[in-house]
């Protein structure tokens, strides 16, 4: 069986043109996909049964027992933490928010450790953005800042930006200019018309220099800024001002380095300033395929895109206080539920140590570094392959993920619904 136009459940590009060949309920062929998505579609490794630690050893348990234990741990906790969510679908995320509300829990997503500073900057100065098709059809100048899409979002260039076929172009390769700003010559930097190699930590300075130049105050810019010659910055400003449509894409290289949200704020203000001269947009290169979906869900349900603490009986948001790393570093949580992410592979040591010291439960199809921190793991069906549901592309375009093979595993939503129902019963709200 051939299934066409399948959205890929890997990165924020959410390419929806994948063709899969399915034989005997297995994916045996993948077309149009990048190497990252390909590996996910063809992956065979997974956890087969729920597991629980008993007397220090892992034992296989039933779904009923694992769900009961999870509900018991969460209900008994004073400061439960619900974390992850970027690798599952909106409908499951909605249940997660209801569960957090019922528990008075703190709920946060992987956003907290990636584009958290970008969102804080947006909350200060807004976000001049667009859907990716605008860039594809119109942008004659593309700037990749602190990101390396050739390796991290491999099809971004061919589907949406540099090489994408666009209405207003005869020849996109010839007619589009590419600027890359990075601290090293990445693969993406190699295809740039202009590569700005900035000293580590120098993004804020470069952005300020560009803003000064756009405002006609190039005279205050010194001969060299963060290792970059003024002449090069002048060339870039000229290219920006002469562009019909400039599109900036930025990654963690600028949001998670020194300056953090101040860098992004500066970048957004540069883009807002450029809009007085021509058309400019700026967009974050979101990582997980549905990291943006969780931001959307939590916002319409609770009012904030991440890091919401329900312990006061209202939705309370204060990044730095209610963000997952901070709360774990303070050793506050006394139970943790991890869904559709892998903090064990990414969090600082002190946070991981605390997660290992408290009852931590993971809902995830696969064994991963987080498994080692857990007391319970519940395997589930894989969204976008075994479960249909909504995901939001990095630009906010919602796409329905497809189910292409049958599975015996329950979905994230089914498991969370059962936990939520059991928690309500234990709380006497059943």
């Amino acid at each position: 069986m051939i299934v066409e136009d399948v959205p890929c459940p890997f990165c924020g590009c959410l390419c929806d043109d994948i063709t899969l060949t399915v034989k005997n309920n297995r994916i045996v062929g993948v077309e149009n996909c990048c190497v990252l998505g390909n590996a996910k579609f063809l992956s065979k490794k997974r956890l087969k049964h729920p597991i629980m630690r008993k007397d220090g050893a892992w034992v296989e348990v039933s779904f009923d027992e694992a769900i009961e234990e999870t509900a018991r741990i969460l209900t008994g906790a004073n400061r439960p933490l619900l974390y992850g969510w970027s690798g599952t679908y909106n409908e499951a995320q909605v249940t997660a928010v209801h569960l957090a509300e019922e528990l008075g829990a703190l709920i946060d997503s992987t956003t907290s450790v990636c584009h958290n500073p970008s969102i804080i900057a947006i909350q200060e100065v807004g976000h001049p953005g667009c859907t990716l098709g605008q860039v594809k059809n119109r942008a004659d100048l593309v700037i990749y800042w602190g990101c390396n899409p050739i390796e991290a979002h491999p099809r971004h260039l061919s589907r949406y930006s540099t090489y994408a076929d666009g209405y207003f172009f005869e020849n996109t390769v010839r007619d589009r200019k590419v600027v890359v700003v990075d601290i090293r010559e990445s693969e993406t930097a190699k295809i740039a018309d202009e590569f700005i190699q900035v000293k580590p930590g120098g993004d804020y300075l470069i952005l300020s220099a560009l803003r000064a130049m756009v405002r006609g105050r190039g005279d205050v810019v010194p001969a060299t800024v963060a290792g970059v010659k003024k002449e090069q910055l002048e060339r870039v400003v000229e290219a920006c001002q002469n562009a019909s449509y400039g599109a900036v894409f930025f990654g963690l290289g600028v949001s998670m380095t020194r300056g953090k949200y101040k860098n992004i704020r500066n970048a957004i203000e540069l883009v807002s300033e450029l809009n007085r001269k021509t058309k400019f947009t700026i967009s974050a290169m979101r990582g997980h395929y549905n990291v943006y979906g969780f931001n959307e869900v939590l916002t319409w349900m609770a009012g904030y895109p991440f890091a919401v603490d329900f312990s006061r009986g209202i939705a309370f948001y204060n990044p730095g206080e209610t963000t997952v790393i901070d709360v774990l570093a303070r050793k506050e949580p006394d139970a943790c539920l991890v869904v559709a992410s892998d903090p064990g592979a990414h969090f600082p040591k002190t946070c991981i140590e605390h997660m290992a010291a408290i009852p931590t439960i993971q809902i995830d199809p696969c064994v991963n570094p987080t498994t080692a921190l857990c007391q319970v793991q519940i395997p589930v069906a894989i969204t976008g392959i075994e479960v249909a549901g909504t995901a939001y592309r990095m630009d906010g375009v919602p796409i329905r993920m497809k189910k292409v093979v049958e599975t015996e595993f329950p979905t994230d939503k089914q498991v969370l619904d059962r936990i939520c129902e059991r928690v309500r019963e234990l709380n006497g709200n059943g």
Binding site: T131, G133, G166, M301
Partner: protein, 566 residues
């Protein structure tokens, strides 16, 4: 949805010709019926004012830009926080509440139907997801066509049937209810940072003007026999002197439909400005209202501004950028490929600001100068002019000259020289208000046929009971009683169930999404049109097969099928 008997209801139901009668209303299975058995639950309305459920024909409550208004505004979220209570979830937000917040607050005001004013088709799935979490009101979405390349191309070719066919395909695909044009031509021009100044300026990319877009969309809309007319946000919103552009637009509109208007012009307050700049900015509500009075084929809504903080959000991207350049606060923009734009900025309308004071006066003037309440509906373009929670105050202002004068004394001292408001004595009646908040909306939207906006047997049992005995209140004097009475229903009944009482939601509820499906002949079905398909696959960033909103997003829904003249 069992049997209910609402006794002693003092009813105003303009569509049914009822203007203040003490009645019993029987409900069964979610509808109003002739009679119920002795087993029916009896609710005593105590002689309180009882109206059909409120209908907001132009509001922004669900979808991409609304949610971005929340996302970028933690300060607004903090300004409206409520706790869990019974079946009510935690909510956040003042001017852009969370979905549950919108639903509970609207329900407390007696509203049972909401029309999302602007849904970008490409992001329609998002709007429908939020509808599912706005459970106490039925939902309708206006789909944006102002910059739709397929439609503009067909208009450029002069092919009205193809124009209609593209509208039909898109509306069915995105489960939309009506055709919305926001700054037609301007949002597409904004793709390259440009705009169009008024209806006769050619677009940069298509060889057509807004005039042609508006005329063709109207014609196509009527070919498809859609329940609602074209829903227009005129060009040139918010600029001094724009009233001439608005008058010119109204002159374009033929009278093509005997059941309802041919054009619905939204938030006309923002389009009724005189002057050549901010220094001589003035009200032009009089010529606008005169034009509406002469042209029964036009219905407008107020777009009333009320003082205080709010968030502006519209598909009119270039307008929001201009507003950003005035306010210098944060600015978000979100252009949608091949379709439309959008922008968001927070604003604070201040009494001490002359322009803001004039804007406040203009909205009221329109409602008072348009003779027929059926032609001027009550809105704030929520949350653009003000959050909808201000509706009770607006009602009171329209019913009381005394209240208007008291408020007028607090606005900028030069306002009197620029507006006619102090000279207007008209005070609207309870019946006028019933028309402007539900009956007029039902008729303008073309949804009386599906049981909306009236209270006779056969209608949907959507009812609002306000704790006011009309005979005991003189609204001209006791305007504070009017505000209080409209701020919180005694009972809000939705589809035959009491969903809200004295400000609290009582059940989780479940909304119905209304959408249209024009039945087009096979040769006009764009699903099989090679040219349309090729253009789509080439220039959109998603595949055509993944574009239509699947049935899974609709939950309860009601598809209005129309016979077309294609």
């Amino acid at each position: 949805m069992g049997e209910i008997l609402l006794k002693n209801a003092w009813v105003i139901d303009p569509i049914s010709g009822i203007n203040g009668e003490l009645m019993d209303i029987a409900m069964d299975g979610g509808r109003i019926v002739e009679d119920v058995s002795g087993k029916a639950e009896v609710i005593d309305a105590q002689g309180f004012l009882t109206l059909p459920g409120g209908i907001d024909s132009h509001t922004h409550t669900s979808g991409t830009k609304v949610n971005f208004g929340r996302y970028m505004s933690p300060e607004d979220m903090r300004a409206g926080r409520t706790q869990k209570k019974g079946p009510m979830h935690i909510t956040s937000g003042y001017s852009v509440p969370t979905t549950y917040g919108n639903s509970y607050k609207y329900s407390a005001l007696g509203y049972t139907c909401l029309v999302e004013g602007a849904m970008a088709p490409l992001e329609a799935r998002h709007t429908h997801e939020e509808f599912a979490f706005t459970p106490l009101q039925d939902s309708f979405a206006n789909a944006l066509f102002d910059g739709n390349w397929g439609m503009l191309g067909a208009i450029e070719e002069g092919d009205i049937k193809r124009t209609a066919a593209i509208i039909a395909w898109t509306l069915s695909a995105v489960k939309g209810f009506a055709v919305k044009l926001t700054n037609p031509g301007g949002t597409e021009a904004w793709g390259f940072g440009k705009n169009v100044s008024c209806i006769n300026q050619k677009m940069p990319r298509f060889d057509i003007t807004p005039t042609e877009i508006i005329r063709s969309a109207i014609e196509a809309n009527e070919l498809l026999n859609l329940p609602h007319s074209v829903h227009l946000h005129c060009n040139n919103l918010g600029t001094p002197g724009n009233y001439t552009c608005t008058l010119g637009t109204f002159d374009l509109v033929p009278d093509l439909n005997d059941k309802r208007q041919t054009l619905y012009a939204t938030h006309v307050q923002f389009h009724s400005y005189g002057g050549s700049g901010w220094s001589d900015f003035s009200s032009k509500s009089e010529p606008i209202a005169r034009k509406v009075n002469m042209r029964p084929q036009i219905v407008i809504d107020m777009g009333q501004v009320m003082f205080g903080r709010t968030t502006t959000m519209t598909a009119d991207g270039p307008m929001e950028f201009n507003l950003y350049r005035l306010h210098h606060d944060k600015w978000s923009n979100h252009d949608v490929e091949l379709e439309t734009g959008s922008g968001i900025i927070p604003v604070n309308y201040r009494r001490k600001n002359l322009v803001n004071s004039i804007m406040w006066a203009i909205g009221l003037e329109l409602a008072l100068l348009v003779e027929s309440p059926w032609q001027c509906l009550l809105t704030t373009d929520n949350p653009n002019g003000a959050p909808f929670v201000k509706y009770p105050e607006i009602i009171a202002l329209l019913m009381s000259k005394k209240y208007r004068d008291a408020e007028f004394a607090t606005v900028h001292q030069d306002t009197g020289k620029r507006v006619p408001l102090p000279a207007i004595d008209r005070e609207l009646t309870w019946h006028d208000i019933a028309v402007m908040t539900r009956a007029g909306q039902a008729r303008a939207l073309g949804i009386t046929g599906v049981g909306k906006g009236y209270l006779l047997p056969g209608a949907e049992a959507d009812i609002a009971v306000y704790p006011m005995r009309v005979d005991d209140i003189d609204p001209a004097q006791q305007y504070e009683e009017v505000i209080k009475g409209f701020s919180q229903t005694e009972y809000t009944i939705k589809r035959g169930r009491v969903v809200s009482r004295r400000g609290d939601a009582l059940i989780h509820g479940e909304n119905t999404t209304f959408w249209v499906k024009p039945e087009v002949p096979p040769e006009y079905d764009m699903t099989h049109d090679e040219r349309f398909k090729e253009h789509f696959e080439r220039y959109y960033s998603i595949r055509m097969s993944n574009y239509p909103v699947q049935e899974e997003y609709l939950h309860r829904n009601y598809c209005i099928r129309t016979e077309t003249d294609l």
